[in-house]
Symmetry: C2
Subunit: 259 residues, 2 copies
């Protein structure tokens, strides 16, 4: 039975998230229906990350088996012919039998986008968190972000409902970058701020809770150095609020080279 790994990009707006739900359209459900149509049987699909409703992906990875013999480029075309334009298969590869998109993932990278300005661009309304009010202090946010790098218990950044047994994770890097949005597209000095984090795994809402905390740092509500104390507390109440889903992108998933 041929096993496949497919890289997917999707605009999560209007979907219930990656995972199948009782109500509403999921990315997993769309991919499974496309593959069922192709393979004329049920094809369970595993995704590397369970992105929430409204969360986007630039490089989600999915694994599945097909009965049908098909070349990878033909599989990409067949999927895209059966998926809505909001979901695209970017590439596909035949993989060794035991491959599992979630369990075999070694690292994931997420990006979070913030719009800091009075009026958010209409083109960013589903792709960034609108943070109006005074300019966030980018320097202090950039200083705070790396303080969570390394192996830590991230329980303070896990939402209720997170079911993982261990809340220890390794963050390989964590960083904030900001750029004034292009002059022609904004007025009044709005800034698009990007946060990116790469780790070996993430707890439920972890990236969004980190971002909510960093925004409090940027507003001067807490010091950059407080990130260490937040980690040490192992208490969700110690961190900032969970940032909205719409600003979050799963950028990519990494595997061992032989997979």
């Amino acid at each position: 039975v041929p096993h496949f790994r497919v890289t997917l990009a999707y605009d999560g707006t209007g979907f219930v998230g990656w995972q199948r739900q009782a109500d509403g359209e999921s990315i997993q459900g769309l991919v499974e229906r496309a593959l069922a149509d192709l393979d004329q049987r049920d094809v369970p699909v595993v995704g590397a990350g369970r992105t929430d409703a409204g969360v986007h992906a630039l490089g989600q990875v999915a694994s599945f088996e097909l009965q049908r013999i098909i070349e990878a480029p033909a599989l990409v075309r067949a999927l895209n012919a059966r998926l809505p334009a909001a979901v695209r298969a970017l590439d596909a590869a035949a993989v060794p039998e035991p491959f599992h998109a979630r369990f075999d993932a070694r690292a994931k990278t997420y990006r979070y986008r913030l719009w800091n300005g009075d009026v958010i661009s209409p083109f960013e309304r589903d792709y960034a968190w609108h943070v109006p009010g005074p300019a966030l202090d980018l320097d202090v946010m950039a200083a705070a972000a790396p303080l969570i790098e390394g192996r830590h218990d991230f329980a303070s950044f896990q939402s209720v409902g997170g079911e993982r047994r261990s809340t220890e994770r390794t963050v390989f890097w964590s960083r904030v970058a900001g750029a004034p949005a292009a002059a022609a597209e904004t007025r009044g000095g709005a800034a698009l701020i990007t946060y990116e984090v790469r780790g070996d795994g993430f707890l439920r809402h972890m990236v969004r809770a980190i971002v909510g905390t960093l925004v409090e740092v940027g507003r001067g509500k807490r010091a950059a150095a407080s990130m260490a104390g937040v980690l040490a507390a192992r208490d969700r109440a110690a961190a900032g609020p969970t940032a909205p889903a719409a600003g979050l992108f799963l950028v990519g998933v990494e595997y061992d080279a032989q997979l």
Copy 2:
């Protein structure tokens, strides 16, 4: 009576265009309803450019009068509170009485975005023309674009239904720029190609016809130097096809400094 000039950005997806129509939602209609609610009377609104259905704006300019006395920042907030997130007022200014957003415009800049690659990013599906197939020759497109600069009769680039008496216009500059799309977001060497043009006025579908012609140049279907012959023909059949609306953005409108 206070006269105002307002700069608007909008995501044209799903709208019938700037101009009010018998059926469907227009940007003009949304702005007029928001202002009618604010001023408790009908407020006719003039737009600098009549963007078509699906065409976007980063800096459309609208003019109107209000009975109500209101400061410009309050007007921006009042408009945004009454408009959908797809349409944003970016700034406002009180202006001399005779100001007319369309007749007083001295220059407009448009941008057109092309996605040249097998699979278009889901985030570009409403904001770029998907041109699959072999890579377009950017160098030859970049050489062709400026050949329409200057004062010319642009009848070859005007769609049927264009009602302007004169088809002479001045193009101040016309240029193509291309950049490989960010590696994480695409596979297989897709490129996002941007065309920008600034002129004193544009005929119906003129930018889209220029882009359709430039794509034929990029495909090797016609030579860069053929642009002069297309202009000289004064015949729509001499130019390439009209590119789709979704890739087009009205970037900005310029007025005399005292307006």
